[in-house]
Amino acid sequence: MAKRSIVPFGPQHPVLPEPVHLDLVLEDETVVGAIPSIGYVHRGLEKLVEKRDFKQYPYVAERICGICSCGHGLGYCMAVEEIMNIQVPERADYLRTIWVEMSRIHSHLLWLGLLADAMGFESLFMESWRLREKILDMFDETTGGRIIHSVNQVGGVQRDMDSAMLNDILRAIKDIESQLKPVINTFLQDYTVQSRLKGAGVLSREDAIALGAVGPMLRASGEPYDVRMLGYGAYKDLSVEPIISTDCDSYARCEVRLKELLQSFDLIREAIGKIPEGSINVSVKGNPAGEYFVRIEQPRGEAIYYVKANGTKYLDRFRLRTPTTSNIPPMVEMLKGCQLADVPILILTIDPCVSCTER
């Protein structure tokens, strides 16, 4: 048996924009174990729920994470609305869905870029992020913010989109879709990409389910599970089919996310085609009392929001279980047996979002 050594990975690491630390146990170049340690981005913002009233808190919830910020605001608002029995107007549901799907496009393009960067494929990174700018421009136009949108509120949304904006979105996604084709081709066909991704980090379907993987990670292991199928928001009227792959490796995870991009384009088109006229929010009277769980599908997978209210304007508890939290145990399992040089890519394939995880 070779001598064991421990190599620290992070918290400041060129591949990861966020701080996460792993102790990698190595035998020669092979990883035999990984011990994650987290807490570098812990702010304690769940506790802030006691200091901000429930109508102000979406503002904090959106800052749980800058990448899936729209979804976090939505999850929190949905939970409070359920407790208070508020029926959100149809148009607000559709607007929320359009924005959430746009965040999915922005998040997946961002991930594709980071993956390419981790492989040292610099031009592919630049190309993915160049396409992502078009979605950010659309966010800028429709919400006023590029990253943090602050559009969700308890009872609906804060801003409406007129038909010119909706047309601009349609034009932008058409533009991205046509320019994305060569990018998709490169990710799926290129020899360099295949040599880094194929067969790397295999996670079998049984392991994925047993270890609690969610989102694209689970779907790439062949399990058709997508929380959007529950039909919250406008998804009840839209055709959502989970996208799966049965290869179970890093290449499969890349493929699933690429196909989800195309699915999001279709969902946005469908939602814009069906969006009803009407008001965008209802006035909220009184204070919530009770508790509720909400599940939504974030770009990284299933996120669970728990809200407990006590009848005053300050909530008792807000709790969030993020997709990355669920994906860390499968990641640790996946790292066992891989080569040291593959570690950054394998960590990236779960699409880690550390600031969600640690809050």
Binding site: P11, Q12, H13, P14, V15, P17, E18, P19, G39, Y40, V41, H42, R43, G44, L45, K47, L48, K51, Y59, V60, R63, I64, C65, G66, I67, S69, L110, G113, F125, M126, W129, R130, E133, L136, G145, R146, I147, I148, C353, S355
Partner: protein
Amino acid sequence: MNKVSKSPWLLHYDASSCNGCDIEVLDCLTPKYDIERFGIINTGDPFQADILLITGGVNSQTESVVKQLYSQMPEPKVVVAVGICACTGGIFKECYNIKGGIDTVIPVDVYVPGCAARPESIIDGVVKALKVLDEKQAAMKKDGR
């Protein structure tokens, strides 16, 4: 400032940000904003960095990392606090695990406000940092260091 006297290298560290500012920092490097046209590139190595970009407020666990990264950078060095959390603690100021802005731990030269800071303002901050870098360089020469 009329000309850029140096091609500075950036080091980026996320002290406890929500990612918003981090992805905007990375955005600056990509085709739309492309700060590489000023000769600026992102490095992962503190020993080769001139400008330290920090996002997010400091918490008890990142405090030592921030201090260590700062001490590993060669003189002259400039620290840019990106985003309102890095400047003052921002929206998370009242959170139990946030000590406040970056300036509670290391000296900060340029403050870039915004939540999330827009790439335009980050570039503006970096260009201001270049000026500070020049001044620090001149002061070092004067001292004969």
